[in-house]
């Protein structure tokens, strides 16, 4: 460790949706590295440790080193010439950058979609149909005496959700912390999260909806046949016991993961859980929150919603925003080979999209913004290296409970921020198009 050290107190970790804002970072300004991240979990420690400054070109065009300005020109040409471009990602960047990305989509008549569509997108669809009984993580910490984790593994994906908010911390009305809470975990397999639970309910794969619907019936006093156990792996007695606990707690919370959304049933599963929370409010206070993965995926939902009225999968090709999951979501646009160019910001679909979607990304011009080399930057025609949000870049991110938090960067980067690159692309595209691209067949009056 060098002598030119700086301590940044109450910095924010943007690895996951917990967005813990109590990090105390020791920064070596000569090496431009974070040497110590006090309060960070295992994931946060890796996040801070591994995001020093790497020796990478500012940009690559067709695999050749380029300046940022040259890459902006190349990216703008691609977007201005594309007929059905896709803008995707956005969950690991600031709200300020997200806002510019939506503006570009609007200007070029393209589609803007975020990693929400392959995360809690189905929950977003369910919110529209069923509604959401919600709370902040602070309320959960201070009030929840029954916590039900459903279809998730927070011990590995969101470690501090347990220690900071939902399992062990003492709260205003939970003075004894863990002793005052009953913790239930529902999953198809035992995970490192299981030991944290008082009650583990192991459901058969593809049975979440059936279990949730049976719980709804029991909450409403209806009869459920004991054969539910054969279908779901969960006995009627276990369900009745859970219902009794849920109706008699003071403040209950469902924290649900992608075991519901990435599974058969998708938004029906999320909707069933949200409806169960609503049902339980006839008896006591219940809330339900999706547990979010990326550091600012919740911000992406918020920004896209503010600007378009919809949270993800929004298309502007008619000159106004249209939302239609399945039509304007990235996996569908790529699998059906409809997108003819893609601007991918702070995301790596080439590492986790279905094979057919990745194959189409290889066919079309792709522009990436990412601090790291990834499978997606490797297939990109234009790849920008950008600074890391939260470590090098300030701005706003949203915690998984929709609470906005301002970032406190640790040290400067030689690379531009996503917002700077996107703003330059937006300005150049605007110059190339002479303003917003009008949809084919738009009334003449609209052009004046």
């Amino acid at each position: 460790m060098g002598e030119n050290l700086k301590v940044v107190r109450d910095a924010t970790c943007t690895f996951c949706g917990c967005v813990c804002d109590d990090m105390h970072l020791t920064v070596d300004l000569d090496q431009k590295r974070i040497m110590k991240a006090e309060n960070a979990c295992i994931l946060g420690k890796a996040w801070f440790r591994e995001h020093g400054i790497e020796e990478r070109p500012l940009a690559l065009i067709g695999g050749r080193t380029a300046t940022t300005e040259e890459a902006v020109e190349a990216a703008a040409q691609i977007l201005a010439q594309a007929r059905f471009p896709l803008i995707y990602g956005l969950s690991d960047t600031t709200c300020e950058a997200q806002r510019v990305a939506v503006a570009i989509a609007d200007m070029i008549g393209g589609t803007v979609d975020t990693t929400t569509s392959v995360c809690h997108g189905p929950s977003g669809i369910a919110f529209e149909g069923v509604g959401e009984s919600t709370a902040s993580l602070g309320e959960i910490k201070n009030r929840a005496d029954l916590v039900v984790f459903w279809g998730g593994n927070p011990a590995e994906a969101h470690p501090r959700l347990f220690s900071r908010y939902a399992v062990t911390p003492k709260g205003m009305f939970i003075p004894n912390g863990r002793k005052d809470r009953t913790v239930v975990l529902v999953d198809v397999r035992r995970t490192p999260s299981t030991p944290a639970a008082d009650i583990f309910i192991q459901v058969k794969p593809r049975s979440d909806f059936e279990v949730l619907w049976a719980l709804r019936a029991l909450v409403k006093g209806r009869k459920v046949d004991p054969s539910i156990e054969r279908r779901t792996g969960v006995s009627l007695a276990v369900l009745e016991d859970l219902v009794a606990r849920m109706k008699s707690c003071r403040f209950g919370v469902f924290l649900f993961g992608m075991g519901l959304t990435m599974n058969r049933g998708r938004h029906f599963n999320s909707g069933a859980l949200l409806a169960l929370a609503t049902d339980l409010n006839e008896f006591t206070h219940w809330v339900a929150k999706p547990v979010r993965g990326h550091g600012n995926v919740t911000g992406a939902d918020n920004v896209v919603s503010w600007q378009t009225g919809f949270p993800f999968g929004v298309n502007f090709s008619r000159g106004y925003p249209r939302f239609n999951p399945g039509e304007f979501t990235s996996v569908d646009l790529l699998t059906r080979r409809e997108a003819d160019a893609a601007l991918i910001i702070a995301s790596d679909p080439a590492d986790n999209f279905p094979k057919a979607a990745i194959e189409h990304l290889r066919r079309i011009p792709v522009i990436t913004l990412d601090p790291k080399a990834t499978p997606t930057t490797q297939l990109a025609q234009v790849a920008f290296t950008t600074a890391t949000y939260g470590i090098n870049v300030s701005g706003t991110v949203y915690r998984m409970d929709d609470v906005p938090i301002t970032l406190r960067p640790a040290f400067e980067s030689p690379y531009p921020s996503d917002e700077q690159v996107l703003t330059a692309i937006r300005d150049r595209v605007r110059a190339l198009l002479g303003g917003n691209r009008l949809p084919a067949g738009a009334p003449v009056a609209a052009a004046s």
């Binding site: 690895f15 295992i42 994931l43 420690k45 890796a46 996040w47 440790r49 591994e50 995001h51 979609d113 569509s117 392959v118 997108g121 189905p122 669809i125 593994n153 011990a155 590995e156 994906a157 470690p159 198809v188 397999r189 035992r190 490192p192 192991q202 794969p205 992608m258 075991g259 959304t261 990435m262 599974n263 058969r264 998708r266 938004h267 993965g293 993800f312 999968g313 999951p325 399945g326 039509e327 979501t329 990235s330 996996v331 569908d332 790529l334 699998t335 790596d348 590492d351 986790n352 999209f353 279905p354 094979k355 057919a356 979607a357 990745i358 790291k372 080399a373 990834t374 499978p375 490797q378």
Partner: protein, 119 residues
Amino acid sequence: MAEIMTLIGGRSSKQGTTLCASKLGAAYAEISSTLEMNVEDMARLGLSNNSKVRLRTPAGEAILRCKGRETKDLPPGILFMTYGPLSSQLMAGDTAGSGMPISKNLDVEVEPVRDENGP
């Protein structure tokens, strides 16, 4: 002989820490090409830790290395792997009009891979 089992894709803390370093590195490749499998299933298929196994779905196939899990941790017939380039090979692009491809509880054909370099 191939058997049909249920594959769950997901995250792990080791995957989370290795992806921070690099998604192009050996550690990430190793963690995302490891398949957790019930030990009784492995014994029946003649597999041991680190054996190669081929998974096949209508969308594609991938070869991974096995890691045994006791029945109390992973029931028979259930497989777990972390998301990454190989899980993508097995996922279909159809989202049933939702935007979300299915990546949990996939039916997969499981088949041991015998090669001359070992189990």
